[in-house]
Symmetry: C2
Subunit: 196 residues, 2 copies
DNA sequence: AGCGACATGTAAGCGGTTACATGATTCT
DNA sequence: AGAATCATGTAACCGCTTACATGTCGCT
């Protein structure tokens, strides 16, 4: 469903093929929503079935034909309604917290290492994020129609850094707590973890 | 996969049935990992197929038989390896950011409303979260073997509040930016949104 | 009489990913 | 010669959810 709305939104700005959609989506919202070719083609088929988009096949010499999709009237209605309906706030759901909760058979250093490695990974991720998302100077290259669009886009970029910084900060605070944890009474020295 | 490891971890503390697992999981990690009966039964079957757990069917008079699952040797090995391997940091992925990015055809007040409604929802969510997760006083009721386990559990609870607070704070900052956004040049007064 | 706890599951669907298939053209 | 770009998809799987099916017991 999320992808279908993204597709609808992009097509509303400009009709295009599945192939183009992939590039457009990667470029504009890829920093918070990755996707795949096959999923796009699948969603496109669904959208067509539901009458939200229409296709025009364009003959091409020397390369595969293109299927150019446009939003229909119904599609535009659906899009408008989606845009105006605030999204649900998903409940907290973090698989890695399982590891924290179930870590009690490990000794403090082992748990600390787990956190340190995650912190390293997240810092690397933040670095990559900053390198890969275009900065204000490059924005003109992604030709955005207006100032408004550019600022909204910038907000989505900022969310990513803010989120990663939050994660890193939380993990660093958590790491301090781990180090101050009472020593496991399961701990029998270097050969611990008898609970496993 | 995440659920399977949670099951393995719980069973490692104490063999039990699928029915009991559901309650145990809800109680202990439900604040960051919701699940369903059917998913548990399915995972249990998978774990058995993979030889990570074994079953013992217990005859009961006057009520359905129970199938009590225990972790096997292989299961314990798998569990240990999982516990010591730091989890991946998933890339940012937030469907609601789509709405932010694609909101440019709406006028400022409409976007602001979207944010305000989300903020309200998240505050309600935070309230519920605080009410529903047991506080330190109640912890003894969930009999946790030791101080260590209790503190790790507390960390997972704290993550939830920290996360929701972060979200709310980000949205509030974003709301201010929205209000300062240049007026849409699509804006034709009260009957705006000609781009839709 | 009706509901919730006890206890097991199946079937279908959802949104998504991974791997694979095809085949011409252009760039290095 | 080999890789990237253009352009379409299919099939199988993943983790998970929703809805449904079955049946007893004890409480109100």
């Amino acid at each position: 469903m999320p992808l279908e709305h993204a597709i609808l939104s992009v097509l509303n700005q400009q009709p295009m093929s599945g192939y183009d959609l992939k590039k457009e989506i990667d470029q504009h919202i890829g920093h918070f929503w990755s996707t795949t070719q096959s999923h796009i083609y699948k969603s496109l088929r669904q959208l067509e079935e539901d009458g939200l988009v229409s296709v025009e096949e364009i003959q091409q010499a020397n390369r595969p034909n293109r299927k150019v999709y446009s939003v229909t009237g119904t599609g535009r209605q659906e899009l408008e309604e989606w845009l105006k309906t605030p999204m649900e706030c998903d409940p907290v759901r973090e698989a890695w917290l399982m590891q924290v909760y179930f870590a009690h058979p490990l000794d403090n250093e082992q748990i600390a290492t787990l956190f340190e490695e995650r912190i390293q990974k997240m810092k690397a991720q933040l670095d990559r994020y900053r390198r890969n998302t275009p900065r204000p100077a490059d924005i003109d290259l992604l030709q955005m129609e207006n100032e408004r669009a550019r600022e909204l886009w910038q907000m989505t970029v900022d969310y990513g850094t803010a989120y990663l910084q939050f994660q890193i900060a939380w993990h660093e605070r958590a790491l301090q707590k781990i180090k101050a944890l009472p020593v496991s009474h399961d701990d029998r020295g270097p050969n611990g973890n008898q609970a496993l």
